[in-house]
């Protein structure tokens, strides 16, 4: 009896597997001509919100491209897989995409530590990785590999914009709170150097582990530092948790909160806790240029909300990739790399130049302030300063600025 049921179960599994194989065959045949772009990204965990934005931007771009007949006459297809924000998982998922799905282009890897773990493998995989949001300055400095490109704003660039703005501020003493991984430490180093250059007193920094829920001790530290301003390098759930709790402790009444980045998702998720915050923005959707206006209109027609910060930054990376593929006429790594080097694109953020020396996209930097506006359900970012590309982009292969 037991044996009989076992056999029938095995047969069931076999036939199910057979059906599965047969039903996927035509799909493979159809997709053989498509350009497959691998997107390992965090869909769960503390940075899942960032991953979701990047995914939506890619899907929006793919839809636009495919509606116009694809790239090089081939449809664009994204292969998406969850990394949970874990570097080891990100490398494994990327490798699977390269080896199993025949992917030759990667994007989406959201967390800088994931990107730092992935880039050493790109040569062996013969694959190009176009960053959509990776902040760590080292990716275009000491950790630069030939197959890595960063059309988005880096952490040092975001920090630099805020630091330039601070030069005119009366604040003298500053403190820092960053996430305890590659990006947080890297941006804080840049901020410290910029503070010293501007003649400010940098009173030190603390780093909170990714996924921290209780920020009370960090708030105590900030208060004790006696600083007039605190620079935050936080994103995802950690950013939302810190800002909510900082408001409950009335921290903003004593200390000006400054941040490397703040997205609308966090603003909406924390109510009024972000009002008064000054920070960098990688992409404020209110930018006044024709390319951006067309993008925002198309986006709003599709999703009925304005594009968020990581959505805009990832979309720009997709557009740069698109221009590179069209120029190269191929997705082969060597040809695509040559095409991307020195490429100039009129993007939603204005002109972006993918400089050849370190593969960083030169572009403008923005400083925003979160304000409440009549008739808007949530607070909104208002651009208070814009800096030209040559002031926010660091010298080639560097993370520190000359002036």
């Amino acid at each position: 009896m037991a044996k009989g049921s076992d056999v029938s179960r095995r047969r069931l599994i076999q036939s199910t597997a057979a059906v599965a194989v047969v039903s996927t065959l035509p799909q493979y045949a159809r997709a053989a001509g498509s350009i497959k772009i691998g997107m390992p990204l965090p869909l769960t965990g503390p940075v899942a919100g960032v991953g979701a934005q990047m995914r939506r931007a890619c899907e929006f771009w793919a839809k636009q491209v495919n509606a116009k007949g694809g790239l090089l006459g081939r449809p664009v297809e994204f292969i998406i897989s969850d990394t949970e924000g874990n570097p080891a998982t990100a490398v494994r998922k990327a490798q699977e995409m390269v080896e199993r799905n025949g992917v030759r282009i990667l994007t989406g890897i959201a967390v800088s530590s994931e990107a730092l773990a992935t880039v050493p493998r790109l040569a062996e995989w013969d694959t190009i990785f176009v960053s959509g949001d990776n902040g760590d300055g080292r990716l275009t400095a000491e950790a630069l590999v030939p197959n890595f490109f960063r059309p988005n704003v880096s952490g040092p660039m975001g920090t630099r914009a805020v630091a330039l703005h601070l030069r005119d501020s009366p604040m003298k003493k500053l403190f820092g709170l960053g996430m305890d991984y590659a990006w947080g430490h890297n941006s804080m180093e840049v901020f410290e150097a910029e503070c010293k250059r501007a003649g400010k007193n940098f009173a030190g920094a603390v780093f909170s582990p990714t996924g921290t829920k209780d920020f009370s001790t960090y708030i105590t530290r900030i208060r004790q530092s006696g600083a007039e301003g605190v620079y935050l390098v936080l994103s995802g759930d950690d950013n939302a948790a810190f800002l909510s709790q900082a408001k409950q402790y009335r921290l903003g009444e004593k200390v000006q909160l400054l941040t490397e980045l703040i997205d609308q998702m966090t603003i909406n998720g924390t109510g009024d806790a972000t009002v008064g915050l000054i920070g960098g923005s990688r992409y404020p959707y209110t930018l006044d240029n024709p390319v951006n206006k067309a993008f925002v209109a198309a986006w709003q027609a599709e999703y009925r909300t304005p594009p968020d910060m990581f959505e805009g930054d990832q979309y720009q990376s997709c557009v740069v990739l698109q221009a590179g593929i069209e120029k190269a006429g191929s997705i082969e790594a060597a040809k695509l790399r040559a095409a991307l080097e020195g490429l100039e694109v009129d993007s939603i953020k204005g002109r972006v130049v993918m400089r050849a020396c370190d593969h960083q996209g030169e572009q403008q930097g923005f400083v925003i302030k979160i304000v409440k506006r009549e008739g808007m359900a949530h607070p909104v970012p208002e651009v208070i300063a814009t800096y030209p590309a040559d002031r926010v982009t660091p010298p080639c292969n560097k993370m520190v600025y000359d002036n």
Partner: protein, 289 residues
Amino acid sequence: MDLFPFLVTQCANAFSQAALLFFLGVGLTLIFGIMRIVNFAHGSFYMLGAFIGYTVAHVTGSFWLGLLLSPVLAGLIGTSFEMGLLRRLYRRDTSAFLMVTFGLTLVMGEAIRLLWGVQGLQLPLPSMLAGIVFLFDEPFPVYRLFLIAAGAVLAVAIWQFLERTRLGLLIRATSQNAEMVHALGVDVNLVRSGIFGMGCGLAAFGGVLAAPLVTASLGMAANAIVDSFVIVIIGGMGSFPGSLCAAVLVAFVQVFGTYYFPDFAIAAMYLLMLLVLAIRPGGLLGQEA
């Protein structure tokens, strides 16, 4: 900041954190005490609680209604899960429970993503809890004091429930010898379903109360499950007073550890767990070694 106000503030921070950890740990330890199973989906019920609490508070405009209804709904979902699925697994070994409850975390995570989206959601506080008080000239949120009070009230309530009520007696008896209780004519299955739902409800209660601090978000479950396991292991599997002691201990180690040794913020909790396990392998108040 002087030493005394600093210590008072930090202790208040630690007790408010202990309350949140206690809500998480106590549900898991109750379930383990009765059923000898590890509910991997505990963190997901905590997260579900936060999202349901958000929706109820948003629709009715009342934080309190959210705090009340969310545990009830999550408890009902937990009970029906136990009746529909877990009950069939009692004759199997524990790995079956691990797999099924782990599967439930995946299902719940996706369901919450589909229903509420990926954006973190803010649960606004009622005005009576939104203010601050001054502890020796240092501002401290009223809400955190409320958390401490809620933790204390809940601890006393559960203790009285277990010690004084007939159902509490049955729960204690079932945890000691389920077969004997069954032989005495008590429907043990019903006790199990009830306690599973209660454990899930307690997790949801903690989730609603945590939401104003961390926003209701998809990342809530992953950390919560680890924290609650640590509480249960330090306190002793299945021990209610153990989970209370463990929550306070872990919170103090986290709050003061993060202050004095910020580089070891994550490690502090695990070092404490190693230390406790080395001295008392069954946990602080656990019976089995």
